[in-house]
Symmetry: D3
């Protein structure tokens, strides 16, 4: 079996979140897969809106740029808004997956309709737009929130976990959903326990993306370079972006 | 690494097609995965319309029934119409994937828009309905046909292959598609060669489904038994279907 | 006026349900129309999910096959999931209608938005997919359930009737719907009484399909045999399906 | 069998067109059905755009008003744009059908996808909006035009007929459609001949609406007076519309 | 700066409502813009359904006709159902805007999702259809009603105002909407006060349409006379519509 | 009349393009409006894909940040992909408009269906996604390209202009579109001339956005700060983005 190196990009600058997601990724990766977990030096500590996403997208591109130089085989964007996904696909030679995308795809394979449980209410619109972009609007019964900021998921307290559990129960009872998609990379470690507790598939995007990426790599399917996702038109970038200039 | 047994169900009765698809499946399966390739005893020799699909769906269910008794871990429905998919998910305890579904999902991950190349013009409507059901109508630029019956793909001659190649070229030039989905299980062996020739991802559903199934199994994600896809309401089946009765 | 013979196919094996639906059909049929009510010998006693539907679809095809030999003029599939509808249209030379289809079409002609009242919650997804397939997603305000199995409708007790009435009232009050579609062939006898009680159109698919079928027959409109719904490609069927082989 | 009186409203002022459509209607009506063919005194001689439709809608309402006083059982709006349909449903106590609506509904019952053949290119947008309103956008493969004004259909020459025939052939060959909907009331007499010539269902809205209206009447299904289509709020109309005031 | 004359057409016959809307229009119009406020002599006193709209549409066309003769530069249809909009665009040489259209467009520019607050429940379906026609179905979170007739807005009492305020609060709290569109021309005067009270944009269609019309005029963008909205095909109108005949 | 300062943000770093767009903006701005034309110091010289857009979005945010400090009243993002639009709306206190958005909205007000004429084929997917996001997919008949890079529009030669003209003619003849939207900020100066030549509205986003922005400002409608577009959650930005940190 081939050895793959998958770059797991945390688009925010929180090192502890990077570490947690790396742990979740490694827990499901094949023995022969290496997870290279990174995050940008510049950016925001958590991603909780469109502004944060626009900043994080550049951080993602910088990491894609570096990852390509390091010869990684594929890239995962580990934030539920999939910031910079299409831009990253242009820049990358290998495949690129977002964790929202990965989780949503798998959810449609094990249920007819799923619910999403995310963090702050203001991120609901981002999930809604992703559903539309990926084609899954009709497959999503509801987008639920725990009304806590992203970094609360790093707390040692159980408040966030309790609220997630509560929303999952409501997804079953009120939405009649067959599966739950966890709507934040910070929830990566909770899927297996919740699946077991609730008796329905609870899907975390980080682990979903790792397995999908291994699938793409093993099938030698990579980002199409014909047309819409061809490499960026070669031209210099100036100022703070100059390190992203083509060589 | 766990050992999985994936049941690859050819919904038609053509043993040679079963063998060819098994070969394609084994070519991409992990070393620890066992592919159990089967096809129904009763049914049609090829699937080229809604009637054939309705017949084949029962064959699929019989195989799911047997596969469950044999303790397989997951089931693949290896016909591009994904016949009986939701019924199979009800009956199965493990995950079930169709090859159209599998190929379409992966195509959206490596391109913005893809074309489908299928066999007879009368099957176009089936692909169109699947795109709508899976949410990918907007991701598909065109559905193209080679205007040859399914079993022509088993011929030793190169006519079918030439026509597929021709349609792939048109997908690039006329549809401006970034990827091609091969629209028949009988085309399973051609993807890698075409990908290499054409320089864009050409995706075969059999191999796509094998890797997606390994992903689901490794993530312990299985068909949700809450709600829409719960086991069939237990009741006896009569006559020619009595072997499908619950025990 | 021409004499038509309409084959009313109950896709399940319950003879009493066949009889009840035949009564409802004959109550609205023109004097010159003959209703030939049939059900398969093999199959399930009630249809309450995708698995049951896949089994029933073959029973439908067997009846279409026989009906064609008997020279019936048109075929009605009398189960709210319209199992095997497109397959039946391929096989038939005459027109084929499903009762869900029939009821939904008429509902849009007398109201801007309607509600569906069906049996078990697990059948909601089937109605939802039919709405999408027929184009009526935006015309349906809600799908409501009485949470009772299909055969409870055969009970002499009034529980099912009471719950249907209750859901119809909620359709008016909460959904602000102008009409109700009864979501099970077993409810066929209730439409006229409920229409009178509630003061809005309550539509039963069996009677709707009979009148629509008479309309198609009288207009000499039959299933198009050009393209998507052409007769199945002629090839032998094997095993338990051999009686469906072309002659 | 009950005797029904169906009011066939030609929304334009062309008496010859009214007569032609009445002939087509009577050709398919049941023996017990009386067709009362009318047209407004005020209005336009043919309907070829939104302006004409807005004028014609009032003519339709005046006829509905009179028809109600005369005790007709149902109303047909015999112009392919279905002008004033929802307004007419508010005003009427009985059912109201448009001929575009009627033809489109039936077309979906005998084919998976149909083409429309209409008159002037500028009416295409009207058909497009109706498809969207009725839910049939995905069921229509193409809207074709003969590029002749409506009244050319009254000519004794065969130019219009030839062009319709030509577009029907293109519908089969280029659109791969299984049925054709004739997109003008003035084409009412052509359906049966074209169906026979072309070998696919060619559907005329006038005859379609007559049979659908008989179906609704026989099922005692009438316009819902709950909610959206309740009678207009009672208030006087002034000036040229005063004859439409409630009594 | 150019001087524009904008014809503000109240489609109902209520002079006081015309005056109120003229006041709202003049409050936002540029100094160089003249508002010519008119209403039909014939018609209904308020518009509360499809019937009223069909009547009002002709009144609108009469005013467009007159306005064109008077040399006005653009036309606003000041009723939330935008009655006769496309017909008016055919007849007009200048641009034509509806107030529902105007308010909805602006709402999408200052929020991701908005709520509509309208009068009677029976007008909800009209707003729903407009959203679909304009493309804003996904941008509207809810359509709310105050359950009062249009003319109650002319009352000196505060009941209507209180109910509007209440629904706006619910739009924020329950729909999580970022903006409110006022769903009746009679609410024109309330937007600024409500915006200030509620802290979110509350948009009135009359003022929105005035500014959009000035924008179109200043950009010299007028109704396209190529194709769908070309002038009506020239032909005489008879009877009560004869004053609308082409000259 | 109030004096407004509108910040016109060219998201790329080409000063000459900034100047050209400023000229187009000032040509339509009210006498009392001041156009403050800016572009980022860091970024790309032209925007021709998702990668370029992601980079440009940060430049847009930096300009919004500065513009807010300078007290500008509203912001225009003058690139046809509307890069960073929702992020900019979060950051801004005033209204923000994209030029694609502005042009598309106005196009729907003067025609039933429009065509877009843009630069490179690879930008078509961006326009397609914007149409979906704004709700105008059904209002766009075609997206056409001149197959030239953005900066070719700055050439003194007439090649780009000729190709644009050619595509506009095809939009009329082949798409039957009533209007054309120019799909690049670099085409800003061409709209008036093309409108005059072609006889249909040709809409440039820069001028459209200026007038729409004046409309919003004059109506005191600004970005809703309730919910989805509230100010970014306050937290420090690190590294190259630190100048965007909240104060």
């Amino acid at each position: 079996m081939s050895q793959y190196c998958i770059q797991l990009i945390n688009p925010n600058t929180s090192q502890s979140m990077t570490n947690n997601m790396a742990t979740a990724a490694r827990a499901v990766a094949s023995a022969s897969t290496r997870i290279l977990a990174v995050n940008p030096q510049s950016g925001v500590g958590s991603i909780e809106g469109h502004f944060d996403e626009a900043i994080a997208a550049v951080g993602v591109l910088q990491q894609i740029h570096q990852g390509r130089q390091q010869g990684v085989d594929g890239h995962i964007i580990a934030c539920f808004g999939d910031p910079g996904l299409l831009a990253a696909r242009e820049l990358a030679s290998g495949p690129v997956l977002g964790i929202a995308e990965a989780a949503m795809h798998l959810a449609t394979m094990v249920s007819t309709r799923f619910s999403i449980v995310t963090t702050l209410p203001r991120t609901v619109i981002i999930a809604r737009h992703l559903l539309q972009q990926y084609g899954f609007t009709d497959h999503c019964a509801a987008i639920r929130t725990i009304d806590l900021p992203v970094l609360s998921l790093e707390d040692s307290s159980t408040i966030a976990g309790d609220r997630i559990r509560e929303q999952c129960h409501l997804a079953i009872q009120q939405d009649n959903s067959g599966a739950v998609v966890l709507g934040c990379g910070g929830m990566a470690g909770l899927a297996e326990q919740l699946t077991s507790e609730l008796g329905i598939p609870v899907i975390d995007g980080v682990s979903a993306a790792v397995k999908l990426m291994e699938s793409l790599l093993s099938l030698r399917l990579t980002t199409s370079k014909h047309g819409d996702l061809a490499y960026p038109v070669a031209k210099p970038l100036s100022g703070i972006f100059s390190d992203l200039s083509p060589v």
